[in-house]
Subunit: 330 residues, 4 copies
């Protein structure tokens, strides 16, 4: 099955939400207490997806709020340099800050992050700063779950979804669950189900769908898709880590994608690179089975490198890895 998208749009994808700064440990395989140097990258799930998509050749735009300081200007300059349209990035005037993520790489399997999200500018995007004219210009609108974590960013994201649906623009919901900024699991479930019911494509890990369903144990994929297909979604992707990912369509098909083996440096950035390449494949008109391969290959490349944004692969790298694995398999 292929997903049909509007043909005559200027942008392939417009992402909504946070664009932040990652401070990655230069000395790694040790506790962060012993890391003395940090390298700066643009970060944040929707920013990473916009960067990854742009690197693959999609035309991407971004709706978000950045601070009026050195980190804010760095983000805007970097994304602009990557070919992303930043005309809808709003500069905060209230002294808010860029969200920061310090990464700790204890070992390839044990990574953790230390987030600075207090008064982060991205969470202060106002609904009045989201414009119908801009949203009408894209094939896909990508909403990151974290944009729903606090007001007024929450209302800005809800308004973007409302305007997209009103104008027949397909909505992609990347669950991107970060417990840090949410008040309670109940609250997350309320907004995750609200937006998932209205989205056309939903992408997340099994654990993130359990959060959406406000479930303590691990849910069944079938129950999740039965619920979502009563509403707007036509494609639901559920990721199971090293066990690969599954795509379900409203028309009843199920596809499975394998995870690609790689030498892992750290686990950050896997989801964002997956989403970039998966959406790239859909926009190029590839079938869902192929899109799953693009997603997995892209993720496996990023986890072998130091950053999440700068490490986003080119199409050739992805296709080479797929080809290589096809050969191995046979």
């Amino acid at each position: 099955m292929n997903i049909s998208l509007a043909a005559d749009k200027e942008f392939d994808v417009i992402a909504v939400g946070r664009a932040c700064v990652d401070l990655n440990a230069v000395e790694y395989n040790r506790p962060m207490e012993e890391t003395m140097t940090f390298k700066k990258y643009v970060g944040g799930s929707p920013a990473n997806i916009a960067i990854g998509s742009s690197k693959l050749g999609l035309k991407a735009g971004f709706i978000g709020k950045i601070p009026d300081d050195q980190h804010g200007r760095f983000i805007e300059q970097y994304m602009n340099g990557q070919g992303i349209d930043t005309s809808s990035m709003v500069v905060d005037t209230e002294g808010r800050k860029t969200g920061l993520t310090f990464t700790e790489i204890l070992s390839p399997e044990e990574c953790s992050i230390l987030m600075y999200r207090e008064e982060a500018a991205d969470l202060y995007l106002e609904p009045a700063e989201v414009h119908e004219d801009y949203i009408k210009r894209t094939k896909l609108l990508l909403i990151s779950g974290t944009a729903l974590a606090q007001s007024p960013s929450r209302e800005a994201a809800l308004k973007a979804v409302h305007l997209a649906k009103k104008n027949g623009i397909k909505v992609v919901f990347e669950l991107d669950y970060r417990p840090y900024t949410w008040k309670s699991a109940e609250e997350t479930a309320v907004y995750y189900s609200l937006v998932a019911e209205k989205a056309d494509i939903v992408v997340g890990t099994r654990e993130e769908y359990d959060v959406m369903e406000h479930r303590l144990g691990k849910g069944e994929n079938q129950a999740t898709v039965d619920y979502l297909f009563q509403h707007e979604p036509e494609l639901v992707v559920i990721k199971h880590g090293v066990d690969g990912s599954y795509a379900y369509t409203r028309s009843g098909e199920t596809y499975r994608g394998r995870a690609y083996k790689t030498k892992v440096l750290k686990t950050f950035g896997a989801g964002d690179s997956y989403a970039s390449a998966f959406l790239y494949a859909l926009v190029c008109g590839k079938d869902i089975e192929t899109a799953l391969k693009y997603g997995s290959a892209s993720a496996s490349i990023v986890v072998s490198k130091h950053s999440s944004s700068e490490a986003m692969p080119a199409v050739e790298e992805i296709e080479a890895l797929i080809e290589e694995n096809n050969t191995i398999k046979s």
Copy 2:
């Protein structure tokens, strides 16, 4: 046209949201500065609707949060005494307060209110305090717009709507717009349209629908119903003050109800008494045209009296007024 409701339910209506205290001027037709005595009543739109419905003979329940103080206990005791099931009213444990509304009656045409809504307990109802088992027991779930004004009451109301829809319970959305507790008109429009799209019956004034549509000037009823009937609603009531009210059905019918003349003491409470009697008529299986008459008659009785809750009329009073007006007209 009649609205079909589930037959086998314990409650006719469960209202969600605020139950507060009104302090009505004992000496009126003067500025509040010169009013020295105030009389205490239960107030708040959904509480008034529950009281009005109960007085008319419906079995009503209430989901809300009241403080652990003398005003909170007064509310619970009064509503319980009116036959309302208060088993789902939660007592706040964080020292919050009962919302207060001081009323100023300068003249029958010039009324104003002075609201105390800071840290009002009703706005702190948590989603975890809304239970599926309770909501399953009613024919109608009534959501008041003010419950959406702040978190966590907002999420509690959204969860109640989600649970009602999941269980096939009809949702009535009374727009009940009070600018006081909202941060911006944009924010109100986001949540009003979100809930109105999911409701089965929507009731409000023309001005309140303009708020929902985030419109500066006055909108057209036809545009409003064209929009809402693309979503879940099957019945939309739009009130135009002394020019009467209109009911629109998804199947294309339009009904008009006249306003009844009365000796007005004050304008408060008209909307709540309208909603109580309108819903009463629907539950009793009366047609929409008749339901509009019940609403108008009930409203005209309440505006001639001192309170909003205690003044809620009995069926006989409503029917006598309708009869009297039918006679006059002929």
Copy 3:
């Protein structure tokens, strides 16, 4: 001993802090749940002291913040009508509210209050709204402990004390402890000791001094005055309820005042009427022993009446009661 005050000042006393609205139960000797009518009075300790002083013939001024609403205007009009200079009462422009105190009179011995202090305008007096020119015009500056409970009112009160000391104006500190608005007992102790050390006259109950000293059990008066006389105070009044009150001077004298018997209606307002009459006596040049009698007599008159502010007695009433008791005693 007499307290020497500047002779050439326009005001006898300027009070700083809250001016609020009391809503007193019209039907009493019952729980508030059963009280249906409330009578409105101006309230708040420093407002009551200004009103009481003014009724006794002192020239009083007031520094405080009132809301831009009907209750705010009522307060200003009432205090102005009592002869108080309200030129330094600032009108809030941020939508804050008048603090409210609902009184419950279960019996003459069991009284309680229900306070509304969230976003109360009086706590938002800014230090920039306290002016040296105004403070220079008074003999006594009266600080109420509650003004220290929150910023920015706290800084406004500290600035007023600073300016008074700088200009040789005597500072009276009325401890007026209301736990409601304080975050912790530790915090109260920090500011109470800070201001008490700088004040010239300190007035409070034994329990309030225990709060100042951050003491769990009941402290000894001698320890309290030993501590305070190492700093600025020259006169310390410690009230022991029905056991009367004690005044201690820096020069080592101790005076005891008896409590006057009366038919108690409620306990509210006793402290404010005590302070008004005590300060009146000092300003009139009476000795401390006589001032204690004025305080006690005034308190006993107010507790026999319905309000705290309107019930403030005239000089003749106070003197008649003192005379009557002198006669009885002999």
Copy 4:
């Protein structure tokens, strides 16, 4: 003149307030947007002064709050490793963060900082976490002005001053004015004058004293010391940048210290290194004139190096620089 200090104390100095993380630009002489790597150091004025003092051989302790995360543990480990007693550093349990300071070195003359101070753990030190027993063990208690910027750290610092004065411990007030966390200049002036009046030794720049006096233009040193010597201070140090510093004593002496020439890398850390060496000299019983030299020499060494904490000099370096300058001068 020498300052007499208690002889029999375990600690020479206990500092109160913030201990944070500095992230210093590794690539400098460029805008921060172009700096891609940052090096981590312990920072924050009172932490730097404790580190500097400890390096010079004083026995230092610290009262402050650090987060329960990797940065918090780094701070505690580093300071402990420098010989500072960290037994009174409290670990925050509410998820607060370490304050961060990114430094931008455009040129030796143009340096700026980007501070992260939202929900910084140090500002949440509670008065209940400051203990009399600990404060009794030191010769000097050092209060940093920034600790007064917000509650509850403000009350913790006020309590520390209260306990020091009660026990005859000398209080050093380092004005350390950082506009970022203060609400208004009026508020700063209130608390700066409050603590400066109670301190024994006050140290700051001319500009900081202007903040304390809530002055728009530049004040005169003589007016400042005339005011402060009416209260508790016995020694007041006023720094005038490259024009050197002045020390005034209550007994009427004035001393001037020259600034030492150096090759400046950045301007950060000058004040903290000055204070460390000045206090070291006082504790060692050196006269004030010599102490001013120690301060200047220490400052000039730190501004030539990359960090503020790790660059703190040893006694030999300071004395060598003083000696060298003495020789040059002659």
